[in-house]
């Protein structure tokens, strides 16, 4: 696995991106012994010439971590889904409504997670699931907005993801969303911070390789929110982005910022075709 590149070779391969040796675990994720999840599949057309195959972060985690995600009783993230189910059915705000008042059963939200972030014609903007949830809270319930990566919000996104598990991620990158998608793509390839590292340096050129003690994945977001054994809680997409940008010794963008919304749309589109897995389990 270790690449021993001699001096001559180092001179020739000026950009080393072509020598990736991905080493994901060969395994199949079957949820609750029922639903076979798509954790590796042909890359979407827009990644032609960049990646042949897209892989869930699940393939890069250890045996026990992978097993935890396969069974809802073992998945610690499901506790937060249950908490959100209660909130789903509880009225809040001046209109005296709950989420259920408008949307019915939480299970009826199946199919929502796979298409977010999504262009909203009336608002004239690309909306993440978090933005849509806060829009409902403010404008339909007369309730206070939730903090973008706070506990209430991340729990609710876990509930909404959970009812779409097994459905393929399918975000649209054209139409009104296109300019946002392009902006996200620019960010993905921008080398930020004092370490001058882009998302692509780690997750496109080096997935499968170890960076110190970490086994690099493709940095896909089909598994979000993610229950991390490291901090024993659910982690939102933008919180993960922030952590990765911080690790380049950069000034980060803020969760919910236009930059991270654009980046989310672009990263989501790199996983088009992978099953929704949230809440997944990672280390």
């Amino acid at each position: 696995m270790i690449r021993t590149k001699g001096a001559i070779c180092a001179f020739l391969t000026v950009a080393f991106g072509s020598t990736v040796q991905a080493e994901p675990v060969d395994d199949t994720l079957i949820l609750n012994e029922e639903v076979t999840m798509v954790t590796r599949t042909a890359a979407p057309a827009h990644l032609e010439g960049v990646l042949d195959e897209v892989l869930s972060g699940w393939h890069f985690r250890g045996t026990e971590t992978r097993a935890m995600q396969a069974d809802d009783f073992d998945n610690p993230g499901m506790i937060f889904v249950e908490q959100a189910e209660e909130v789903w059915n509880t009225a809040d705000g001046s209109a005296g409504k709950s989420c259920a008042s408008c949307h019915g059963d939480s299970a009826d939200m199946a199919g929502v997670r796979p298409v977010y972030p999504k262009w909203n014609e009336e608002a004239g903007e690309v909306r993440t699931l978090e933005m849509q949830i806060n829009d409902c809270r403010e404008n339909r319930m007369g309730a206070e907005k939730w903090k973008y990566t706070g506990g209430d919000m991340v729990n609710m996104t876990a509930l909404i993801a959970s009812v779409s598990r097994g459905m393929p991620v399918n975000v649209a990158t054209d139409g009104g969303a296109q300019s946002t998608w392009e902006a996200g793509k620019d960010l993905y390839y921008t080398r930020t911070g004092q370490l001058e590292l882009s998302c692509a340096n780690c997750h496109e050129d080096n997935y499968g390789n170890m960076i110190r003690a970490d086994h690099l994945s493709q940095g896909q977001i089909n598994g979000f929110p993610v229950y991390r054994l490291k901090n024993t809680k659910l982690n939102a997409v933008h919180a993960r982005f922030k952590g990765c940008v911080r690790d380049t010794r950069a000034e980060t963008y803020k969760p919910g910022s236009p930059e991270f919304v654009a980046l989310e749309l672009y990263v989501a589109s790199r996983g088009n075709g992978l099953s929704v897995e949230g809440p997944s389990v990672r280390n």
Partner: protein, 157 residues
Amino acid sequence: MKRLTASVVALVATTTAPIAAEIAPSDVTYVDGAVDVSLTGEPGDPTRGREIVGSKKLGNCVACHEVSDLADVPFHGEIGPMLDGAADRWSEAELRGIVANAKIMFEDSMMPSFYKTEGFIRPGNAYTGEAADDTFGPLLSAQQIEDVVAYLSTLKE
């Protein structure tokens, strides 16, 4: 009389020498990616260099490179080439250039530039996620670069 003159000269030399000799990050001259002269005007210390290469808080070179000599340090990465035998492949001047700013020797390299202070996009204040302030300096000091070069120069097969 003669003795007195000599010690005055010596005094002047010791007070001005370090300032004159240390080359600032933006003043380093690269020739084909290599840097001929010591950044401090003095040789580095390989023992300190060994620590810098292995330490997460200092160079953290093993995040990306494996080094057999550092087997006592856990978790070596596999992003860059193994550093065993680096001194057989590169001269001291080339090693200095690679450590100070690898992107000159290897265009678009993923390796960070350890002795550079300009040209970053959204530079931060270390790992805080906040913007850089006026304490911003290169990842390694001139002395640390020389120590690392001295250590790499011992890596022969």
